[in-house]
Symmetry: C5
Subunit: 350 residues, 5 copies
Amino acid sequence: MKSRQAKVGAAPGTMVHVGERMADKTSLRVVTYNAAEVKTWPLRDSAEGIAESIGQGITWINVDGLHQVDVVTALGREFNLSALVLEDILNTDHRPKLEVHDDFLFIVVKMLVPEPARDSFRVEQLSLILGDTYLLSFQESERDVFDAVRQRITIGKGRIRQSGPDYLAYALLDAVVDNYFLVLESISTELEHLEEALLTAPGPSDLHRFHSLRREAILLRRIIWPVREALAGMTRDDSPLIKPETRVFFRDVHDHAVQAMDIVESLRDLASSLLELHLSRNSQRMNETIKVLTLIATIFIPLTFIAGVYGMNFEFMPELRWSWGYPLVLLFMLGVAVTMLLYFKRKHWL
Amino acid sequence: MKSRQAKVGAAPGTMVHVGERMADKTSLRVVTYNAAEVKTWPLRDSAEGIAESIGQGITWINVDGLHQVDVVTALGREFNLSALVLEDILNTDHRPKLEVHDDFLFIVVKMLVPEPARDSFRVEQLSLILGDTYLLSFQESERDVFDAVRQRITIGKGRIRQSGPDYLAYALLDAVVDNYFLVLESISTELEHLEEALLTAPGPSDLHRFHSLRREAILLRRIIWPVREALAGMTRDDSPLIKPETRVFFRDVHDHAVQAMDIVESLRDLASSLLELHLSRNSQRMNETIKVLTLIATIFIPLTFIAGVYGMNFEFMPELRWSWGYPLVLLFMLGVAVTMLLYFKRKHWL
Amino acid sequence: MKSRQAKVGAAPGTMVHVGERMADKTSLRVVTYNAAEVKTWPLRDSAEGIAESIGQGITWINVDGLHQVDVVTALGREFNLSALVLEDILNTDHRPKLEVHDDFLFIVVKMLVPEPARDSFRVEQLSLILGDTYLLSFQESERDVFDAVRQRITIGKGRIRQSGPDYLAYALLDAVVDNYFLVLESISTELEHLEEALLTAPGPSDLHRFHSLRREAILLRRIIWPVREALAGMTRDDSPLIKPETRVFFRDVHDHAVQAMDIVESLRDLASSLLELHLSRNSQRMNETIKVLTLIATIFIPLTFIAGVYGMNFEFMPELRWSWGYPLVLLFMLGVAVTMLLYFKRKHWL
Amino acid sequence: MKSRQAKVGAAPGTMVHVGERMADKTSLRVVTYNAAEVKTWPLRDSAEGIAESIGQGITWINVDGLHQVDVVTALGREFNLSALVLEDILNTDHRPKLEVHDDFLFIVVKMLVPEPARDSFRVEQLSLILGDTYLLSFQESERDVFDAVRQRITIGKGRIRQSGPDYLAYALLDAVVDNYFLVLESISTELEHLEEALLTAPGPSDLHRFHSLRREAILLRRIIWPVREALAGMTRDDSPLIKPETRVFFRDVHDHAVQAMDIVESLRDLASSLLELHLSRNSQRMNETIKVLTLIATIFIPLTFIAGVYGMNFEFMPELRWSWGYPLVLLFMLGVAVTMLLYFKRKHWL
Amino acid sequence: MKSRQAKVGAAPGTMVHVGERMADKTSLRVVTYNAAEVKTWPLRDSAEGIAESIGQGITWINVDGLHQVDVVTALGREFNLSALVLEDILNTDHRPKLEVHDDFLFIVVKMLVPEPARDSFRVEQLSLILGDTYLLSFQESERDVFDAVRQRITIGKGRIRQSGPDYLAYALLDAVVDNYFLVLESISTELEHLEEALLTAPGPSDLHRFHSLRREAILLRRIIWPVREALAGMTRDDSPLIKPETRVFFRDVHDHAVQAMDIVESLRDLASSLLELHLSRNSQRMNETIKVLTLIATIFIPLTFIAGVYGMNFEFMPELRWSWGYPLVLLFMLGVAVTMLLYFKRKHWL
């Protein structure tokens, strides 16, 4: 939320990059293809004249890194994107959504990029502009989850080369949503490990891990819920930009988003149940500890008192002179201890 | 979620079996029947030419085990199933749903197979393809809950032999949902046992069993909710594949799913209430224990101190020489103890 | 849920009584009436020919006890009830609902029969078949809440004799819903008693009563919610079986069901609030107890230690020989105690 | 809920007063007015012939006290109210609602009458019958919140005298809803006081006050929610009894009810947050107390043991004869104490 | 809620300022502009004749301070605002809403004005009257978040000078909603700080800060939810006062309000999770403390008892005379301590 302050009261369409800088520089990867051939263009730094230079067929322009605002706006001008759309693309904090414009669809979703090193994941925004013959994708860094899609285009596997940019958009969104499951799976595994740890030998760091899992679940919920809505919009929407035969694929990816949402909810429920269980266990253990303390203290404190009495140095304490005084006191102490034990037995504390 | 990783970015319709392997091999059980006769075909390993070889009447093809992807896809080709449908059938992780296609309905539900040994149940996916004269059912292992249905077909009891594949689909779904009640019933019984255990003599393993019950309830909720939705879709849908006279039966099974959902919610509420009760009891018991400890300690610690004072070895301690010193001290101690007891009495601690 | 197992996979319309047997035998009470006269028929064991023998006017057939499946099904045949309807009538576990059939309405609700002895209530299912000139009511035992309605028919008070079976159905449902309020009222009173008990002198049995109250609230919620839905259906439905002038009465009973639901929700909220309050009180009390223990222990343990030091038997302990040793030590002890007390004062523990 | 029992199974329209008796006797206050003049009639005990005796203009009949059932029903007969409506008016337990009849609207809401003595409020039912030229209002006692409205009629301030009975109904409902804010405000203030009390010096009575605040919030929620619904109905409804120019006023009072509901929800959330905070504070304080106890006990108990050892009376204890025995033991004790303190320091307990 | 009491029963349109007085006096800032020029009028105290004196183009009249009721009503008369609208403007307690009138739209929202000194924010009401050529804005003090908008008008940047008052209204609302994010951001940062504080070294003041954060979140929820609704109304509404080309901007600001709501919900969830974590940590720490206490007490109390026994002064205690008595007792004590330690080891307490 770095640049938020700068935007308050600013004119709409004020081009400000909101978010962290994740790439060295903003660069464009262009691929044009049709059923017959694929052409991968060299990496570019500038969007000048890109709209004319691309020929027939489908064009996919992928933008990595959004901090060079001028490159992004230049590309926007080439494809007649409105200032509001460009502003939303540059605001990497944006809520996932679908906007239907006259000659393109504007889709904002979130990619989850797993970070095995930190045992966590990073959230990146992916914005798609789906036109009649082109697809523009804007992402925050070079890392993405689209390698398999690129390969499918290159080797022409499946129907991707025969279909339009709507199918390409589907392929990208499908990769994004499929990736959610990998993250959910790792959270689920982590939760199971934590469950074991919490129930057998809980340490303070376990609770910390637990809290960060819940934080992740809250974040995922906030991300997946609107993504689901946006995808639902694409299955319902009657824009001519999505062909009827592609619509069934969007329904499929929407199904997956719904299932991801289900899993997030289950994880939340499981986490709550687990925490309650942990608290119950804790209170049970504390109860036991206190019982042991009470037992020992309640038996020995009176005995120590008796010993203390006969340790007093009064001159006139007749018991001290009796030959049977010592054994009698020991017997009396034994009696007290046994009585106490019997009392606890009856209270079911032993 | 084993094969999830392989699917990220893969083309739709990439045939991958997602899930555990539960059967030795994939085999097909074929039954054809009409009002007059029933024909049970021998067990088959391959789907080659199966569509032609089946004759008039209703055909039910049941597939056990989904890991041999080629057998399943061959059967799919015979009945013109699209790649997306086959992919969903093979993904045993799929969310229950109803899909209306042009010439068939595609239904995904979950079967609960009780496992008495583990005092739990296993979840298996059941996919149904309901065509005009055929029903395909795909399940993960040979074990299922359809023996009674098979018998009804064989002996021709009820209207099953007079009706179409829609009625057969109903019969299968009804068996699936009826089975939910058996599982819910056993969970309910288990919860009652736990209630007694937790309230009389709670042990750590009780809490563990409690947690696994809640986990089961969360899972059931995730399963039954979309099953209910799918069944609601079948009562609403005006597809010609479900005959008007069968629709009332689907309404019946939908009613049962709604009731199962109600019971799951009640179980969750009961479990929450029980846990809160358990925590209250625990805190009450701890309170009592601490009270006993406090009582004993508060009475004897001051007395022990007094005894300690007169156990000091100072040469000039005049009290030690008094003839009445000892009984006076004992009396004083008694006074302190009685005062303390009266104080506790007034505080309602006794 | 006794006979559930038998029903898995069974053909729909398999007549099995699900539930407890509550009556000695299944018997029929028949009343026919019109504005002019009332005829109460003798108690019958069989439904043979009952449809023909009844004449003009309105007929109310009340069935007590459902375990004699043949009697119920015979009656069903007389009035052309479908197998699915009969199956639902016999399943006393059924969810409340309204089903609109071509020539009758089928209503399932739950009666609450207070059991003062157990300080609780019993749930019984009431199924109504509302035809154009007849009303069939099926209940599990002879006990019901309809005595006042019977009287109104007999003495012809109000409009009941002038109206059709729809008004009779209303009268029965109104009695059922009015009875909910008696149960809710007694739960409410019990909750108030518990509140007092929990807040003044909580015992373990209070918590148990509390838990069973919550269990009852959960049950009531599960019952009243769908009853409300079914009644809403009757106010909305445009079936000719409910005359326009009766519809306003159904709206009235629906209003009552909504209010009953409101009360159940309030009871749940109150119970939650009460439990939280109880836990707060408990934790506060425990805190106080522990404070007293800490106070006494923290003051006397150091003093006892000092006494212990001068109780040691070393030969060379110069203090023991001082004339002022004893009073000085006593003074020192006093000083330690006062310091401690002042410290606690500053900590606001006193 | 006194007379509930009497009503179970009773015919609809059975006139029974349900609720507490709050007025000495049932009396009628009649006001007729038009733009030109106002006529206040003497207080009446009976409704006989009231409909004819009132002339032109708008008539407002206010009934105070509902326990004299005959007076209320007589009035009802004068204005052709149906038995069901009269029954609902007499049942002061009724849920707020709007009923559209052919020639009048029937509105039930709840008045909150603040009771400063008990630091609480009383709930009274207000029923309105809005006809084309008259408004009937039924309330449980003479106390109401309508004095300002009466004054506005008398002095002819604002548009009240120029408008119809719909505007009068609005004026009354507006006064009722405005009064909710006074009650909400006092609850809000009380909650703030409690917050301070709970966080600085909580006593058992605070918790009790807290619980009764929550109970009030639950009650208010149950009251305001349906009042809001009823008012929403009046803004939506296209009955000719509410003139288009008055509808905007009903929208205004509906807005206020929505806001009152918002405040109730916020109060509930605040109360929950507060209780959680209180429990956290409590657990933190208990933790501190236990730490102090543990510290003192852990330091002095071992020391006391050492002193006890050298207080033993064995004849052969060489240390007792050493000249340096005493100081060495004291040094050793000091060492133990310091070690303990360092250990606690490292554990961050000090 | 100061003047609430005065309003109960008052005629609608009774002009009373509800709320705190935040400005010295009520003053009007008038700006008229069109594409060609901007005219800023001198500050005025009175609204007399303001409607005529303003010429062609767009007029924005901003009112600062609402306590001088006569100034506000005079302005209202100039622009023909109804009494109800003026009343709502003066009631700074009002719920955010959109009202569609015949010749203007009436919008009420809340501004959040950050107060860095108190580390908090202040809520102020902003009311907008959007006419065909004018925009009236009413705010409680001179401080606002519109400086950037004023500058855009002055320097003619962006399309603001080319557009109508609807665009100006959008610009103001956008500034208001953008400002929400600044407040949310600071709450989010504060929560993170608290998280660290609570998890490492919690103090009582942390909990207090935590509670005030939750209180702020509850307040924000109550504010943003209806603002979102009002903005949704503006995107849906087909009033001619909002031009089609401006509607897309309102959709944009609505999107932002939805996202702000999402963030509020996440903050609530995070806060809940954090508090639960804190309680878990606390209970875990208490458990550890009690364990240490129990360990020490359980080991040394029995030893002290033994020492006490041999400190008794009986004349006939044969052990005291044995040469090996002392070392044997020490050995025995060691044995007891070791046994205890082994027992705790086995219990996994060490």
